[in-house]
């Protein structure tokens, strides 16, 4: 019997729901969470992965109606290549998170009693994300979207005994709702032209440029807010670190990609027309996000906050690629457009994999040391070698270094950008290379950022007592990280194989695939043509490994013993942990050069005991420039509205009557 991918997807949703249901009982039986709930979660991830792979391999579109929904608006689900790809993405990460979480949640069993909340909302969160990707009408989409937002809100507020977390969660909820509203309005525009909320009806809609632009802007704002594009990103570095680490992995790794999915679905599929003006907007916002994201990440000393800011950067890169795709499609270069589109998809899955890996690593460190502050860490590689190794893989991948996966998608994006000579408009031709320059700066800064993270946290010597006592983390946590680290390597080594698989998506959405990508065999990635550019990822890796082995064999000769001694350090006294370069010192040159982009509060103050303390606060300028004025505006508006509140109930009823009359008049 052949199991259809759609059925598998249904199984995945059911398993996720089941895991949520079972966890209700874990208040009584805490072991349920580890023994039943997380395995169900893992299986849900596996089923989603299988469903996605099946769709990508088989091709075709599966549609069905659910026996749910409103009488005149039944919920439809649809599994096409785009959904399939994002199902894979969700599946891979949830699978790894499921493997990882038993070890991680063990510490919660003793501490707090809200295990049902943790397991339940995790299950609902996954359900929501799966359904968003499967939805075939705006109604189910919005319900699933809100399910995803709300359940993740509760997960962000999981450690609600800390005021900062409550505040972060509230901010998240607020922003998620404003974003949801924008998406809803966007669907409203599409539905009113397309006669119905089903996606198929929207695809048929014949929109004028003006209305299409309105729908585009609404979708861009709504999904951009969820994805964390600058300047709508402020909730992200607050909310993601507040959640438990495996949930942070899901949020940064997967939920942001679901927002990317929504953007692609609405703009590329439903609106289905492209204009260069839109692509310029996407490119500009994407570039700003990438650059600001990584610069702010460099300034952070809280490991999880840093990772969250780096998500802003990576989302920026994805949107740069999407913007390039829109630009080339709108100017009639479908081949280059699909290269950029594939680059965006590839970077989506890459970021999902390595960011989840890094958050899991941060979780492992947090688990054993209870420390998120880089300034207290050091020397963790020797205390937790496996986590150290996997984290290193994550760092290399995110810094876009060959032969790992982050490099492949950046390379593809560069290749698309370098086809700018094909454009007719001279202005666009001169702007695209500047975007490429931004991408290059971003990549170099990302490398600096993750040298800082790895060098300060895992190398050197421990800077505090509890970090010195760090131990290995449970096997399940290492396993979860190992799976993702392997994925990083595979995605980096075999880009041709994965792009062949991915190819179904641009073929279905844009009508053009990358015919050339693997035309010269699986060894050579040639997105446009062999003469234009080629990258032999497996060869590079093989030669690297052979040369390394050869070098070790020639020089190591059976690993010659190396005599240990005190560090030389130019003949000064043997270095103590306090003499190491700190994380803020590492970032100081960059802080100084890009100083105007940050809100820096730096100085030193005397302590009661006569010593001096140095303090440094780097705050996001987006708050002062964007959020506080908006907040002030809202407050002023509310003060005006307050006048309506007289306390007299008949006045209120009068307002109600008036509103009713106006509405009736409007609809008449």
């Amino acid at each position: 019997m052949v199991i259809s991918p759609l059925l598998l997807a249904g199984v995945a949703v059911a398993l996720a729901l089941l895991s949520a249901l079972v966890s209700l009982f874990s208040a009584r039986l805490p072991w349920l969470l580890r023994r039943v709930v997380t395995p169900l979660f893992t299986l849900a991830g596996l089923a989603a992965l299988a469903a996605g792979l099946g769709t990508l391999i088989q091709g075709g579109v599966a549609v069905t109606q659910l026996p749910l929904g409103l009488p005149w608006l039944p919920w439809g689900v649809r599994l096409d290549a785009l959904s399939g790809f994002f199902l894979c993405l969700i599946g891979v990460v949830s699978f790894a998170v499921g493997l990882y979480s038993p070890g991680y949640v063990r510490s919660f069993e003793k501490e707090c009693g809200s295990l049902p909340a943790l397991g339940g909302f995790s299950g609902l969160f996954l359900t929501g994300m799966l359904l968003v990707v499967l939805a075939d009408d705006a109604f189910l989409f919005m319900v699933a979207w809100e399910l995803m937002s709300l359940s993740s809100y509760f997960l962000v507020a999981f450690h609600h005994n800390q005021a900062a977390n409550r505040r972060a969660a509230f901010l998240y909820l607020l922003m998620a709702h404003i974003g949801g509203l924008a998406i809803l309005l966007g669907y409203g525009v599409l539905a009113s032209f397309g006669d119905g909320f089903a996606f198929d009806a929207m695809r048929q809609a014949d929109l004028s440029f003006g209305w299409a632009s309105v729908a585009f802007v609404l979708a861009f704002v709504g999904f951009g807010m969820k994805a964390g594009l600058v300047p709508l990103h402020a909730w992200l570095p607050e909310a993601h670190p507040a959640a438990p680490s495996h949930i942070s992995a899901l949020m940064s790794g997967v939920m942001l990609k679901v927002a990317v999915y929504g953007f692609i679905r609405v703009v590329f599929d439903l609106i289905g027309q492209f204009h260069w003006q839109w692509s310029v907007a996407v490119l500009a916002i994407g570039s700003v996000s990438a650059l600001m994201g990584i610069l702010y990440a460099l300034m952070q000393n809280d490991l999880k906050r840093l990772l969250a800011y780096s998500s802003v950067e990576n989302i920026g890169i994805i949107f740069i690629a999407l913007g390039l795709a829109m630009l080339f499609l709108s100017t009639g270069h479908p081949v280059v457009g699909s290269v950029a589109f594939v680059a965006a998809l590839y970077h989506s899955i890459n970021h999902a994999v390595f960011k989840s890996l890094l958050f899991m690593g941060a979780g492992a460190v947090l688990h054993t040391t209870h420390e998120r502050d880089l300034e207290q860490m050091g020397g963790l590689l020797r205390r937790m070698p496996w986590t150290g190794l996997f984290f290193l893989v994550g760092c290399i991948s995110i810094a876009a270094l060959p032969p790992f996966n982050g490099f492949v998608s950046e390379w593809l994006t560069f290749q698309a950008a370098l086809q700018a000579w094909q454009l007719d408009s001279g202005v666009l031709r001169s702007m695209v290379p500047i975007v490429a320059a931004v991408l290059a700066i971003t990549g170099a800064l990302a490398a600096a950022c993750f040298v800082k993270v790895y060098g300060v946290a895992f190398l050197g010597q421990a800077r505090s007592r509890h970090v010195r006592r760090a131990r290995k983390v449970p096997f399940s946590m290492r396993l979860g990280q190992g799976v993702l680290a392997l994925m990083c390597l595979l995605l980096g080594l075999l880009p041709t194989a994965f792009i062949d698989l991915l190819n179904a998506v641009p073929q279905q959405v844009l009508g053009h695939g990358l015919a050339q990508a693997s035309a010269h065999g699986w060894l050579w990635l040639t997105p446009i043509s062999a003469e234009t550019a080629s990258y032999g990822a497996p060869l590079v890796a093989i030669i690297l490994v052979i040369a390394l082995m050869l070098g070790l064999w020639l020089l190591g000769r059976g690993i010659r013993r190396v005599r240990r001694c005190d560090a030389w350090d130019c003949g000064f006294a043997p270095p103590t942990p306090a003499m190491q370069y700190t994380a803020s010192a590492f970032a100081q040159p960059i802080r100084r050069v890009f100083g105007m982009l940050f809100h820096i509060d730096e100085g030193s103050e005397p302590q009661p005991d006569g010593r001096w303390r140095y303090y440094l606060n780097v705050r996001d300028r987006a708050w002062g420039l964007f959020y506080l004025p908006v907040a002030a505006l809202v407050e002023r508006a509310s003060r005006q509205v307050v006048r309506l509140q007289s306390g007299n109930i008949r006045t209120y009823l009068g307002w109600t009557l008036a509103t009713l009359l106006v509405l009736l008049w409007l609809t008449a």
């Binding site: 001279g426 202005v427 001169s430 702007m431 500047i434 105007m596």
Partner: protein, 228 residues
Amino acid sequence: MSLGELPFLQQLTLVLAAVVLFTSFALLEQARLVAAIHAFAWQGLLVAMVTAIVAASGGYPHLFFSAALTLGLKVLLIPWMLHRLVHRLQLDRHREPLRRPALITMAALALVIFSYWLVLPLVQQELLFTRNIVAVSLAVVLIGLLMMVIRAQAVVQVLGFMSIENGLFLAAVSATGGMPLVVELGVAFDVLVAMVLFGVFFFQISESIDSLDVDRLNSLTERAEEES
């Protein structure tokens, strides 16, 4: 027609025009006064060379005269005058670092793209091979103006003004093969007179407010007096 099909001299013109643009950036970001004057002289020299080459390859003999005029005036006479002026005002070692160099560079690059966009319709007409230089010369004009906006030092502002004139001259040469000789003579004379007047003004400003920082002139507004 591609670049490779142009004769060598015309390719050289394009290269020189590109370097003119670079000198504009150098002028914009030069902190030291004396070095800025040198950058201006280089720019003049390049403009003179472009003029001479256009004259040679395009067959406009009167442009040789313009080139010689530019060489004499903007490469030798005016920089020399400015040098002497700076020396007498004891500003030889004066530095005025830019406050936000990266931002200003980006603004100037944006101006280049903007001027390219502006002249695109012109480029599409089949004019001389030099029509692409019009974008460069417009950019030189705009960057000169930007320079006058952001720099507070009076001498540097004069350099900005002169470089605007360079840009205009380059535009005239590249778009239409130069202005009529009478106009050019008139402009040259104007520039010279302006330079002399500027010199007189510098001494006056420097004597009355003891600095050449034009921001000090802000105190001449009515409001400032009321406040103080």
